[in-house]
């Protein structure tokens, strides 16, 4: 009974996870093509690609900001790495791409932290700039990555698990460690939780604010490089739709948009939900246009249930699940 109760309590707190498991079971039963090794390993690749970008976004959101330029940064860096490959080789191409992302992120960060320009405007501006730069690089057309070693990054599998997903998980563990156990991580929570308190506690707030945008840009660039390796092409608009999906994923997981709260495991959960929905609809052979409508509705209702039950708990009213748990 005791285990029952703690399991139940866990799911009361983690309603999104519960919702995901239920939907997962339903779709597995309903569609033959869903619960197959091929499809699931495909799902993990998607989670890995979006997840990497979401890790950077998680830092930004915990720190009380967000980066609208993350998606276009994926497009830009996929183009950059593809074009550099042939000229300088794999490792330099990747390093140069990451370095460019670092510099661009630093520009954003300094504009927000030092020049005190609203981050929405700064990242919106850089979003447009990055889109333009990505298109300019290849004159509007994609660039093939004709380099077997590089393409191997996207194709490699260990067991049936893609190398991309493994890279994502390694980065996730590193981010978890940084956020939970380092001074750097703690101070990011502090500036997101209360900027003024952080400042008056002697935290170098400008540095941390700027780092949020650097991290977001660099992680997005990693996403872009992996994307290019996966599809063997640098594509000037491939990541443009990713920004909103990634922000939504982070927030669905439960990281608060107001900052100071959340963690990367929640991001993993949120991105998983987002990727699962797209994948499941394809498996269920639902017409793509209506997919978007249903997807939107599911996202809103899942979060609505979660925040509704949270306000209930704050007021001291118990939900159905907690009533069951009390009886156990």
């Amino acid at each position: 009974m005791k285990i029952c109760k703690s399991v139940l309590n866990f799911f009361i707190r983690e309603k999104i996870l519960l919702a995901l498991l239920v939907m997962f079971a339903v779709v597995s039963a309903a569609a033959d093509s869903f619960f197959t090794v091929g499809n699931l390993s495909n799902l993990l690749i998607q989670v890995g690609l979006y997840g990497v970008v979401a890790l950077g976004m998680t830092f930004a959101i915990i720190g009380g900001d967000f980066d609208l330029g993350a998606g276009p940064m994926v497009s830009f860096s996929s183009m950059a790495v593809a074009l550099l490959l042939g000229r300088v080789g794999v490792v330099p191409a990747i390093l140069i791409t990451l370095f460019i992302a670092f510099c661009l992120g630093l520009c954003n960060g300094l504009l927000v932290a030092k020049a005190k320009i609203n981050s929405f405007i700064v990242t919106f501006g850089s979003m447009v700039i990055l889109q333009g730069m990505a298109l300019t690089l290849g004159d509007g057309s994609p660039a093939a990555t004709n380099h077997p070693a590089f393409n191997q990054i996207g194709a490699l599998q260990i067991g049936r698990i893609s190398f991309i997903f493994i890279i994502f998980m390694v980065l996730l563990l590193a981010c978890h460690w940084i956020l939970r156990y380092t001074q750097f991580g703690r101070n990011i929570y502090a500036i997101g939780g209360n900027y003024e308190v952080a400042r008056s506690s002697g935290i170098h707030v400008d540095f941390y604010k700027a780092s949020l945008f650097v991290l977001s840009a660099v992680f997005a660039a990693v996403g872009g490089i992996l994307m290019a390796a996966r599809v063997n092409t640098g594509h000037p608009t491939i990541g443009d739709d990713m920004t909103m999906t990634v922000i939504a994923g982070v927030v669905i997981g439960g990281t608060s948009l107001s900052g100071g709260k959340g963690n990367v495991w929640r991001t993993l959960l949120g991105i998983f939900v987002m990727m699962f929905l797209s994948n499941a609809f394809d498996a269920l052979v639902i017409q793509p246009y209506i997919q978007r409508v249903i997807k939107g509705l599911i996202i809103i209702s899942v979060v609505a249930i979660d925040s509704y039950s949270k306000t209930k708990i704050d007021v001291g009213d118990a939900g159905v699940l907690s009533k069951i748990s009390k009886k156990l």
Partner: protein, 496 residues
């Protein structure tokens, strides 16, 4: 006389595991000023939130204006004739006074709003309580006291005959408070009932007809004000007799100057302020709201930029351009607004305590969480912070305990110079006494303490020396090592 306007019967309310109210009954007569006293966490706010429909009681009945009510929202409370003015005002700063008063009720008929009528009605409401405020200006341009008048006018515009005021004088100057008191006595003449929640005994005794004391969620006593004494009320609030309101210091100040501030200017609030503070000294800073007290300590702390001035710490000139510089030089600031400026409320106690000196618990890149908890436990023990564990989030602590966490944070940061801005604002009597003891103890340990307070008795009871500010200038300085300064001389100096 026994015309009961509001009766709460056997109200109980439990939050996850904690009994906030236990069988509380309260009856309020028509046209009386009924004071409710109690320490923070005694259940005053919970009781009021139940009245207002924000919380639902687990059991009990509310009778208001002769009917049994089931109040589920503030709107329903308004309809039943009850309005609450919370400590944090519910006003939209960017809208005008008139818009705020009739917010949600701007439209009478048709689609187009009749601004002239709305403004005229707002003006009338304000005139009724003797407030001269232009209903067309934005609320952001009003003083705290004027905002409060707007809140009262708003409450009355709902035709409320019961008005609850939660700590209404906490942020007012003495003069503004007098104005508030005269408005309250006017309301009383109009047979409007006022429920007055306050920590300040002076006010409670000057204003109220009856006093109810809550302690640990139980209504311990209700008495007619003229039949009880200040001492009795305080004793039933804390559950024990209080000897003195201010503890006596053991040690004495030294002659060694720790910080010297010279000719500090910050237009338009500070005009050439100089002062020094000695090791082991408690320097009280008095003055009216707007005299530049908060601005002065913020400037010294590097939180606001200054146009001129030098700061010398232990004889060495220092450049303090940011709080980071100040902390490096051993200066700490305990803000008056602890929710906005003192604590990260989303953080657990332990993480708030270690925030300034987190570097000291990092080993090989790792934050030593066990060590962090040990430190937190040490300080929660020392300062008697009431909590379930040191990983409890600060948002769930009472005001007094939150303030103790702020103090713990600066104790751990080991600052030599403590700037305390209204360290006991909104804190209950029992916790206040503990904070006073700590201020004395810090001074005894050789720290220099600069304390701002709007409560003169506090300044007189604790400080070794008193600096009075008036319009951004030093208006006077009083020796007070043997507590010889008087309230009259300080006040007349502060008024200018």
């Amino acid at each position: 006389m026994d015309d009961i306007v509001l009766e709460m019967k056997h109200i109980s309310k439990q939050f996850v595991g904690v009994k906030a109210l236990d069988d509380v009954s309260l009856s309020v007569r028509r046209g009386e000023v009924h004071a409710i006293c109690g320490e923070n966490g005694a259940g005053k706010s919970t009781l009021m939130k139940i009245l207002n429909g924000i919380y639902r009681a687990d059991s009990g009945e509310i009778w208001l204006n002769g009917k049994l009510r089931n109040i589920q929202s503030p709107e329903e409370a308004h309809k039943a004739g009850l309005s609450i003015i919370f400590q944090e005002f519910n006003l939209v700063d960017t809208l005008s006074v008139a818009e705020n008063i009739y917010l949600g009720r701007l439209r009478e008929k048709g689609v187009k709003l009749n601004w002239r009528a709305i403004e005229r009605r707002a003006e009338e409401q304000l005139k009724n309580i003797g407030a001269e405020i232009d209903p067309r200006i934005a609320v952001s341009r009003l003083s705290v006291s004027q905002k409060q008048m707007v809140e009262i006018a708003k409450a009355l515009s709902y035709d409320a005959n019961v008005i609850v005021m939660d700590e209404p004088s906490a942020t007012l100057t003495d003069k503004e408070a007098q104005k508030l008191f005269s408005v309250i006595s006017d309301l009383k003449k109009k047979q409007i009932t006022v429920i007055y929640i306050s920590h300040k005994m002076d006010e409670v005794f000057a204003l109220s007809d009856r006093i109810t004391v809550l302690r640990d969620g139980v209504a311990v006593s209700t008495a007619a004000t003229k039949d009880t004494t200040r001492r009795e009320v305080i004793a039933s609030m804390v559950g024990r007799a209080m000897e003195n309101e201010y503890p006596v210091r053991q040690g004495r100040r030294t002659d060694e100057t720790v910080m010297r501030v010279t000719h500090i200017r910050r237009k338009p609030v500070l005009h050439d302020v100089s002062f020094e503070v000695k090791k082991g000294e408690i320097l009280g800073i008095a003055g009216l709201v707007g005299a530049g007290r908060t601005e002065l300590v913020r400037a010294v702390f590097g939180a606001d930029p200054v146009s001129e001035g030098q700061i010398e710490i232990k004889g060495v000139q220092k450049k303090i351009k940011s709080p980071m510089d100040a902390i490096k030089n051993g200066v700490a600031l305990v803000n008056e607004d602890r929710k906005e400026l003192g604590l990260v409320l989303k953080f657990p106690i332990a993480e708030n305590i270690s925030i300034c000196k987190i570097g000291s618990i990092v080993r090989k890149g790792f934050i030593q969480r066990k060590q962090e908890n040990r430190i937190a436990e040490e300080y929660t023990g020392k300062l008697a912070i009431k909590s379930t564990s040191c990983r409890q989030k600060c948002v769930f602590l009472s005001g007094g305990n939150q303030q103790k966490v702020v103090l713990a944070k600066w104790l751990y940061a080991d600052a030599d110079i403590l700037l305390l801005d209204e360290p006991t604002r909104g804190i209950d009597v029992g916790s206040k006494y503990e904070i006073y003891k700590w201020i004395n103890r810090l001074a005894d340990a050789g720290k220099a303490v600069v304390m701002i307070s709007s409560e003169l008795p506090e300044i007189l009871g604790l400080s070794d020396r008193i600096l009075v500010l008036h319009r951004g200038k030093v208006a006077g300085e009083f020796e007070n090592e043997d507590k010889t300064a008087t309230a009259e001389e300080i006040m007349s100096c502060a008024i200018g």
